[in-house]
Symmetry: C2
Subunit: 79 residues, 2 copies
């Protein structure tokens, strides 16, 4: 089973990587970009028995270690 | 219009960040994790007029600057 965890900075938290990309896109004449945010994507291969078990396990991983929940939000997709 | 660009290392390219996460999960007694890969997610806010225009623009961005296509693959989602 495959789990995709997307981790992104909470709204209002300064995102210097996103700002740098935005700046670079402007410098390369890409028009019409209003905002850029940069996040992480962690793809896990699991041998869980059910989607529910996988989701519970990955939620615990995200809370405990993958995301810094003070400044980051996360979303989990089991495929 | 919002574009999500997922960038991940090609199969076979060594992923030290993924390995480090895998190691940390093992050390924290998370069972049943077979593989971990780490990627980037870039979220762009665009004022494109159509999904097609946005996709074309973002594909050019990904090829030119966002992804290193020698070692990375990318996927684009327009929402």
């Amino acid at each position: 089973m495959k789990a995709i965890v997307n981790i992104y900075l909470k709204e209002g938290v300064l995102d210097p990587q996103g700002k740098a990309i935005h700046h670079a896109l402007d410098a390369m004449n890409f028009q019409g970009v209003k905002d850029v945010r940069m996040g992480k994507q962690i793809i896990l291969q699991l041998d869980s028995e059910s989607k529910e078990a996988a989701l519970a396990e990955v939620t615990k991983m995200a809370e405990d270690i993958l995301a810094n929940t003070v400044i980051e939000d996360y979303s989990i997709e089991i495929v």
